[in-house]
Amino acid sequence: MSVLHLTKESFDQSVLHAEKPVLVDFWAPWCGPCQMMSPVIDGLAEEMETAVFGKVNVDEEQVLAQEHNILSIPTFLIYKHGQVVDQFSGAMKKEDLQSRLEKHL
């Protein structure tokens, strides 16, 4: 599945009310580690059917970033039934991100 481009308007519906667990990537185009992680997220979204993947561009969605206390990018939030069940920051290996996500499936 493709990665959702999340906005303030779509966040509640796409993330909080999703049936499957959701991995949300807070990122910005000027952030090197975010650029490294972008193809990783795209790849996992292609491969994993059991989760939903979304991205929030913090440049465009500053309010959304503030509401989630984002102080670093990339930051990843994992939601399950509308609740944050995991949060972590920084670039990492694809396998590590995948296994971190799989713990919540």
Partner: protein
Amino acid sequence: METRRLIIIGSGPAGYTAAIYAARAGLKPLVFAGPQKGGQLMWTTEVENFPGFPDGVMGPELMDRCRKQAERFEAEVVDTSVDHIDLSHKPFVVKVGDQEHHADSLIIATGASAKWLGIPGEEEYKGRGVSACATCDGFFFRGKNVVVVGAGDAALEEATFLTKFANKITVFVRSGEMRGSKPLQDRAKEEDKIHIIYFTEVKEVLGDGQKVTGLKIINNQTGEESEIATDGLFVTIGHKPNTELVEGKLDLTKGYLVTEPGSSKTSVEGVFAAGDVADWKYRQAITAAGSGCMAALDCQRWLSEKE
């Protein structure tokens, strides 16, 4: 199984330059990009001192261009990390997950990583106010007060960069002086927002469970401890070479890979080193690229002498 003539481990300026030279020489190198694809420059914004870019170039863009240049000459770049290497017999073995790759020669260009303070609260508040990358995270500290720890060029650059966003930047220096270069020091000292405080160490990161709220600090001359309020802590206390793969297999000194003077040869024949993993002194993108070139040329010569 096919034995490669050369495997390169690392994808910073050293790894990619070695790949460009080796690929042009027809060695068809396999490059493992590693956990930080593109290396430390991926953490920077504008690079102003790389020759050939009079208007500067973005670090990530420079690395992307290097990679494309290597791939143009049939270097194969793979975005995975090496788990283990075996140098005890020929060909050398490079293990990646459950796969094994064999090679006649290796270039180690695994670079260096940012060091952390290792104090209570630091790990807990990473990404919640504790950062090692002002260019990534400075954006979130608009109008706030932040602390930078460190005394070198990186600390000065980060502090100066943070003036774009933060209200006040306090720099804690453990000793009585900055080590950074004169122009960077002058630039930082001219900034009204930057306050440099000497003989001070951070002992603990304090927070409210959600984010950083303050720091416990100590004056290492008087021993006086105190707490200060801050919204962010940027740690820039230098780098450590990424030698985990080669520890116990190649000679190290001060933690860095040892190379023969004027060469990229390591203590094992057929294994060459390039970039920050073997450079405690210069640590620049251009010197890493230069040593990557040296490693590729040394390797090419060594391979042809063997035949």
